[in-house]
Amino acid sequence: MTQVTMIVNGKSVTAEVEPRTLLVQFLREHLRLTGTHVGCDTSQCGACVVHVDGRAVKSCTTLAVSCDGSEVLTIEGLAKDGQLHPMQEAFREYHALQCGYCTPGMIMAAIDIVNRKGTQLDEATIREELEGNICRCTGYHNIVKAIAAGAAAMGAGEFRQAAE
């Protein structure tokens, strides 16, 4: 067993884990943060996307021990004081989900796009940047619309810091 300490959604957590524990297992099974999903488990679908030190990564393809000392942000860390993050709100507003399984990864990827590319995103950019996220309900149309709107709302709003 190896000790890991990381800051998850703003709170410091320390645990003893087997080195083979994936970050997604650590989040779901140790911390009971089950908002992060395992879809394909082969680093293709993006349902497991979380932010590590401000960058979107696939938590099914990251060891928890490799995140020792890191800051991790999951879907549970977005809403503040009972108010949805603008990107979550946009997904709701634009009905950007059908079954909802890919949604946490989509939203974490969307916020990462905004962090890297800014708040004014055109459709081509969004579609290209969603390369690593798969929706098997094939609901991409509304997802793309929601990300454009959510990005603009992040630019306009006071939630800027919630992106990190």
């Binding site: 994936l22 680093s43 990251t62 060891l63 490799s66 990827a109 940047e129």
Partner: protein, 266 residues
């Protein structure tokens, strides 16, 4: 995934010592190939040596006429680097086209080269640019480094530390990605520089990345897409699988080579 021991050294020497003693220990760089491979139980190293904290393996620098990239530099860092953009802009495009954004945030140039996947992008760029691969023991020319499918000149306890690229006059890369995996069905890198014109092809050959010497000769005469008209690689040396047969891949090599020249000229 089978259980393993885990170490996270902070220097190359410490990492090398762990490899020497570990018998079968594996280096973990970005983990974007190693972790999936271990999850599938295709690899079960007794010890994983995480290079995350080895600061000397990071960074991008220009020194005189060369661009030097540390082995643990991620694809995203190369894609976003102002130093790379001002020296070999086409290399930013190579990095930007690998996998997807999340993979690019963790995958590294050293990991990609050490793995030498026959459909990976970096091997083509490194071979076309006649880069030098530095390890903790020696320096290896790209021409000597790649030795077939998932095979390199690296010894068991050897660690890539950095990659040094001579700055070319022109460099371009074009790939036809597999629509599902985004690995190259065919990727062609073309460079014109101090080493002459070099053309390297990934994804297509049965034996991994290779140089297309007929194309190099034609482009030496005239560095234009049209110089490649009528020149094709030997289909009998190409991969044939469910994604495309050998003739299709051979055809794609010429198409991608023309686009790479176009990209290099832009």
């Amino acid at each position: 995934m089978y259980a393993f021991d885990y170490q996270r050294p902070s220097t190359v020497n410490e990492a090398a010592a762990l490899l020497a003693n570990g018998s079968g220990a594996k280096l973990l760089a970005g983990g974007q190939t190693l972790i999936p491979t271990m999850k599938q139980r295709l690899a079960s190293p007794p010890l994983v040596v995480d290079l995350r904290d080895v600061a000397e393996l990071r960074g991008i620098d220009r020194t005189n006429d060369r661009l030097v990239i540390g082995a643990m530099t991620t694809h995203a860092q190369v894609a976003e680097s102002a130093v790379v953009a001002s020296t070999i802009p086409g290399l930013c495009n190579v990095a930007e086209g690998i996998g997807d954004p999340h993979v690019r945030h963790r995958g590294t140039i050293g990991g990609s080269l050490a793995n030498n996947d026959p459909a990976a992008d970096y091997p083509a760029a490194v071979l076309a640019l006649a880069a030098t691969i530095y390890t903790n023991k020696r320096e290896i020319a790209a021409d000597d480094f790649f030795q077939g499918l998932f095979t390199t000149a690296l010894e068991e306890d050897e660690i890539i530390t950095r990659v040094s690229f001579p700055i070319p006059e022109r460099f371009g890369y074009a790939k036809f990605p597999n629509p599902a995996s985004r690995y190259a069905m065919v990727g062609v890198a073309v460079a014109k520089g101090p080493q002459g014109v070099r053309v390297a092809v990934t994804g297509a050959g049965q034996n991994g990345v290779f140089r297309a010497t007929d194309m190099e000769a034609a482009l030496t005469n005239a560095f234009t897409p049209d110089a490649l008209k009528g020149i094709s690689v030997d289909p009998s040396l190409m991969n044939s699988d469910i994604h495309g047969d050998a003739n299709y891949r051979a055809h794609l090599v010429t198409v991608m080579a023309r686009r790479a020249v176009q990209a290099a000229a832009a």
